[in-house]
């Protein structure tokens, strides 16, 4: 169901008289439409989908990264990021496919859970303050953080979790352009 359908129609009684300054109820792009993925290649995007699902799967009724639209969001975010981040992502996604092919004769999307776990071993290395020097590990650490944040900042995740935990409202004080 799209977010637009979830928006309650403004009840008639709440309409302002015609000669008052109106405040129109505006929907955000995200709530009304889907991102058109365009940055990653199809195979890279498939790896990102699988990786997102592995890192942030749905758990006990809480939406995971896929339901939160994280792959499409990261496709968009990466398209606007620095060349360094773009390379990390593209090379990292390709490397996951490559490893799956060379180790298990399938692409990353086709790996079993335990095969994927083997490939994702760098994610089980202890945390370091500096980004890891090894490019695949650096990519995985970055992607893990972004997939998790993209999930918990999504409308889908917040609308479920905020019913259980009021602090997970996603609300913040936004500063408009000051002039």
């Amino acid at each position: 169901m799209s977010g637009a359908e979830q928006q309650p129609a403004t009840p008639k009684a709440a309409r302002a008289p015609i000669d008052e300054t109106p405040t129109l109820q505006i929907a955000t792009t995200d709530s009304a439409a889907e991102t058109v993925e365009h940055y990653f290649s199809e195979s890279q995007f498939q790896v990102l989908e699988r990786l997102s699902d592995i890192i942030a799967p749905p758990i006990s009724g809480v939406p995971g990264a896929l339901a939160a639209g994280v792959p499409a969001f990261l496709d968009f975010l990466t398209s606007q990021s620095s060349a360094h981040i773009q390379n990390l992502y593209r090379d990292g996604l390709d490397a996951l496919n490559h490893q799956a092919q060379s180790r298990f004769k399938t692409d990353f999307k086709g790996t079993t859970a335990s095969q994927a776990d083997e490939i994702l071993a760098p994610l089980r290395k202890p945390w370091t303050y500096e980004a890891p020097a090894e490019p695949l590990q650096a990519f995985l650490v970055l992607a893990k953080g972004q997939i998790l944040q993209g999930t918990v900042n999504s409308r889908e995740w917040i609308s479920v979790v905020s019913k259980r935990d009021r602090r997970a409202s996603g609300l913040g004080t936004y500063w408009h352009t000051i002039d």
């Binding site: 799967p57 758990i59 994610l123 370091t128 650490v141 998790l148 609300l171 408009h176």
Partner: protein, 520 residues
Amino acid sequence: MSPTYDVLIIGSGASGGMAAYTLAQKGVNCLMLDAGPEVDFTRDRSLKRVYDLPYRGFGRPGQFPHVTQASEFTANVWADEKQNPYTYDPNDPYYWVRIRLVGGKSLFWGRASWRLSDYEFKCKDHDDFGDNWPIGYSDLAPYYDRVEPLFRVSGRKEGLPQLPDGVFIEDNSVDSESVKRFVKSCAAVGIPTTKGRRATGQFASSVNLLLPDALASGNLTLVSNAVVRNITVDRNTGLVNGANFVDRRSKREMHAKARVVMVGASCLESTRLLLNSGIANSSGVLGHYLFDEFYVKNIVQAIVPELRNGSGRHGVIRGGGYIPRFRNLKTREKNFIRGYAVDFGSGGTPDPTYFPLYGEALQKEVNACKEAGFEMTAMGEVLPRFENHVRIDPNVQDAFGIPALHIQARYSDNEHAMARDAMDTLDERCRAAGFEVLVKHSQMVPPGESIHELGTCRMGDDPKTSVLNKWNQSHDVKNLFVVDGSSFVSGGSQNPTLTILALSMRSSEYVAAQLRSGNL
């Protein structure tokens, strides 16, 4: 014809705000120019959900490469880095964090408010490094006594010589069990702790605590959107007589006249102004001795084990405290001089990226450690060194054609040794308190990121080695004063704003008296 004001104050943040508050209420006719617009708190902010922001809370990539404090919620608050560029050697990055609004950074500061002591003012007497200030603690104490009630600083009196007590709203709150355990484990090896000392209230800024009284006196004219280009000098007398500024919105060039100029545009902006004006630098030290406090954020992230899985929560979590400097107070104990302080807090949830896990296993662990964290940040003294400096970059200008700064700053072995000592000591204290240490590190954030830049117009008794005298007055130009953190000679490990406020109040009272007696 435009009027000649008694005093022109450049900058409306903590330092400029205090100058206006002090002078205007003493009947001195002031003009204040600030580069930024004024904030309208009803119009300029609203509640939004993170998923309604264009970048889902991540912020526009690359918008603030040097402001790690910026989020997508606050992106419009920070000075635009493209309009206000600066340069550095790529090997020595400097994170210059600026706010160009009426009220400056005082609108958003964290409000930690500590006094300096004679361990800072008379630092050279203790370890023979650097220089003493031209003033001692007793000179500034009466001003601290007045600033603290104005900023409603809460705290607990401890009688520690390295962290003098103040006029506090007494904080007698009871510590949670986890904090008590950590305090006890520190006390066991002679490490002191205290409650945080913080300006209280909904808001503690120049715009609510200083500027309203100054304006109410009828002696302050406050002009926003006035970007000062340079301070002007009367060629006949060598004295300053006002400033050239550009209207930020129309780009109209203007000049304002005054008998005295007080600069409080924040440490590096004030220094840039003096350098661009070609004044107050007979010593050759203007721009030099740049320092700040180094930060090692989340130096140790621990878990309070009995809080795992949400058990035993009542009275065990929440709250925090502060470890003031304890190294090198009486004898030289370590492989570094000076010392560091630590902010600690209980009850956070560790960042999921700390766990070498993913998927359900990660979620299980994060849930188990929810609000069971005990975390701390170390803040250490950075030695003022001549070679750490700012200068004008002849090749770069801001959006108004004003030459930009080149910043050269690097931490030395002393700071690195201190950071390692802090990590090891805190790791040990956490374990002694029975906490599990999840991660630890000793990597300092880049210079500047602590937002405590200090020292580039330093005070001193000797005009050959300092820019300002003990009244924050230029040695070279007697009607020019610089009242922000650039006047510091050393900074200790305490956050600087309380001292900036006290210095500005002291200097402003001196200016008022000098004006009254006809000396300025």
